[in-house]
């Protein structure tokens, strides 16, 4: 089922490269992690990947907040340990995950289940043009600071967050320091031959 969806998705994008299609058909990713399998069953567009032994699910942005409720309510994931983000603007070489439509930003959340003693990491792709993600704070109030930090340093908004303000940078700061195209410490130096200040 997830494989069909992924193929459909690829067709919609006009992504008709033959070798990729073949690869997907030969290697459907069966989640060997029970939580990931449950997540894939619940949210069919999810892509599972094992990264250095750790289970990772690539979740659709629309169901991000639902995923939090699902993990907390039905899968006994007691804590959201961390929310962070990655800017892939200037990657030399980016990790290719079959079935995931790569965007500039990735929001990454780490969950921990104490009763089951296991972890899972969820990643959602966020386009630069519409940098907004549903907030996890309904299910996990502890994600508050992490999401504020991502908002502060990456400029990714979390819809439904109770207090989305800057946390590390000054309130009147302009720009988002951890974006790859932001250079907070750069001092403009003008040389004679320079057409414009850098």
């Amino acid at each position: 089922m997830p494989d069909d969806d992924a193929r459909e998705d690829a067709h919609k994008n006009g992504d008709t490269r033959v070798e990729e299609e073949e690869e997907k058909e030969t290697a459907p990713p069966p989640p060997d992690d029970e939580v990931a399998a449950a997540v894939v069953e619940r949210f069919p567009r999810t892509v599972f990947r094992r990264s250095h032994g750790q289970p990772v699910v690539y979740v659709d942005r629309a169901v991000w907040a639902e995923l939090g409720g699902f993990l907390r309510g039905e899968q006994q994931f007691t804590q959201c340990l961390d929310v962070t983000a990655v800017d892939h603007l200037v990657d030399a070489e980016r990790l290719f995950v079959p079935g995931v439509r790569s965007e500039r930003f990735e929001v990454v959340a780490s969950f921990l289940s104490h009763p089951r003693n296991r972890r899972i990491r969820a990643i959602c792709e966020v386009p630069a043009g519409d940098a907004a993600v549903p907030s996890l704070t309904d299910a996990y109030p502890g994600a508050n600071f992490g999401e504020r930090e991502v908002y502060d340093l990456f400029g990714i908004a979390f819809t439904g967050h109770p207090d989305l303000t800057r946390i590390l940078m000054p309130d009147d700061w302009v720009g988002y320091p951890l974006r790859k195209d932001d250079a907070p410490a750069r001092v403009p130096v003008t040389f004679k031959e320079d057409p414009r200040p850098r």
């Binding site: 959201c80 962070t84 070489e93 600071f145």
Partner: protein
């Protein structure tokens, strides 16, 4: 003005002239002005009166006032600012405001090679730098698929426990200071200094050690490390029993801490609190036990937990954890395996100094490693270890170059600060000091 000065300065011989003292002759002519030209005495424009009494704005029923505690308040452990909404002396709401120590260390981390990265992360949690180095190194090794030799693993564990002792001793010292048990700062510092002295002997630096690096540790342990460690263990055990005698049963100490800043397990879990805060609520969760890394499954120690979740419990947990660390350190002395202290992969760790003189390849490897570093294949990983403050995690994304695409450290203090709010609410301001102290935030790690 003259009234206050009269009498107090009579014997000095230097007195300002006034109307009662026509024949004022200064003892030293340099003390008088030669001329009034160009000088002007500043007079107060109106009388300033400071009196006590209730402030009119907060007199009414239900009126609250917001005050800022910090960022310069001495009990805020650096530059933490807490906005407190007060009804008289009771805290209605509390909101931690952070960022005063933000230096963009994660951004810096993207500009440093993996070899240099440890120098950066070690400065985040400056009270337990080795935990940060460890978690960073573990993340890099996961991305590289490098297996660390057993001796390096044990050295790492040994150093991490020494560091835990130093960090908890620091907590005992500052917690005592914050609560008014002023002798504790001297006692705690005394034992902590001994611990740091041993760390200095091993790593070369008291803090910010940069000793645990991707691929192993930086150097072999010094020759007589066993004797030094045993001596330190005895010093620390003696110290801890002294603190216990001084504080644990002390009625003033208990009055100040028991029941103060209590939270429940549900609150601690919901607010992503880890470490002693979570364990104090009756939840025995310690990554060293539940998800063992290094060689923690080969040593014998207990996870300390209590049930009340208050400041007193957090104090007791940290006190007892020092002894558990001593226990682990003693076992490290016995069980330390022989072998290499870092992997012998020249693409990851530098060659020994002596080889550089004899081998061209060694020289090239050394040069390449310290100029370009090593390349890490694209991938992402999350490593987590139990630092003295809770789970410190490292989310590392590599893009195939010699520098990380993203280096994120999950600081336990950063997330633990959130649980400060329910601890403070509906209690007195004086208890807020106890709460900040018992959360034990390290602002370098909070703000990064």
């Amino acid at each position: 003005m003259s009234d206050t000065r009269d009498g107090t300065r009579d014997d000095s011989g230097v007195r300002p002239p006034d109307e009662h003292d026509e024949e004022f002759v200064p003892a030293d002519p340099r003390l008088t002005r030669q001329t009034d030209e160009g000088a002007q005495e500043l007079q107060p424009e109106r009388e300033l009166v400071v009196t006590g009494g209730p402030w009119p704005e907060v007199e009414g029923e239900g009126d609250t006032m917001i005050i800022n505690m910090g960022p310069q308040h001495p009990s805020t452990h650096g530059v933490l600012r807490v906005m407190l909404e007060l009804d008289a002396e009771t805290v209605i709401r509390a909101k931690p405001v952070i960022g005063y120590l933000h230096t963009g260390m994660e951004k810096t981390g993207e500009e440093l090679t993996y070899v240099q990265g440890a120098t950066n992360v070690t400065r985040m949690d400056y009270a337990s730098p080795l935990s940060n180095e460890l978690v960073f190194s573990m993340a890099v090794e996961q991305l590289l698929d490098v297996e660390v030799p057993p001796r390096a693993t044990w050295i790492r564990m040994y150093l991490n426990e020494l560091n835990r002792m130093a960090s908890h001793l620091l907590f005992q010292a500052t917690n005592g200071l914050d609560m008014g048990a002023l002798s504790m700062i001297v006692y705690g510092w005394r034992e902590r200094e001994e611990t740091l002295r041993l760390l200095e002997k091993i790593t070369g630096l008291r803090m910010n050690n940069n000793y645990i690096r991707p691929g192993g540790v930086a150097a072999e342990l010094p020759d007589d490390w066993q004797e030094d460690t045993l001596a330190l263990c005895e010093t620390v055990e003696k110290g801890v029993s002294e603190y216990g005698e001084l504080l644990t049963g002390n009625p003033i100490w208990q009055e100040r801490l028991v029941g103060v800043g209590a939270i429940t397990t549900e609150q601690a879990l919901a607010l992503s609190a880890t470490g002693p805060i979570l364990r104090s609520t009756g939840f025995p969760w310690d990554l060293r036990k539940s998800q063992p890394y290094l060689a923690y499954d080969e040593v014998d120690f207990d996870v300390i937990y209590t049930r009340n979740g208050d400041c007193y419990d957090r104090y007791r947990i940290r006190l007892q954890e020092i002894l558990e660390s001593v226990k682990i350190v003693r076992q490290c002395i016995e069980k330390m395996p022989p072998g290499d202290y870092r992997v012998q992969d020249r693409k990851v760790t530098p060659p020994p100094r002596a080889r550089i003189d004899e081998s061209m390849e060694a020289l090239i490897h050394h040069f390449k490693l310290f100029t370009e570093g090593f390349k890490v294949p694209p991938g992402e990983t999350y490593a987590a270890v139990e630092s003295p403050r809770g789970e410190v995690g490292c989310y590392l994304v590599a893009d195939g170059t010699g520098k990380p695409c993203r280096l994120h450290i999950r600081g336990p203090s950063f997330y633990n600060l959130q649980s400060m709010t329910p601890m403070m609410e509906d209690r007195l301001i004086a208890d807020a000091v106890a709460v900040i102290s018992s959360v034990d935030p390290i602002m370098g790690e909070v703000d990064r």
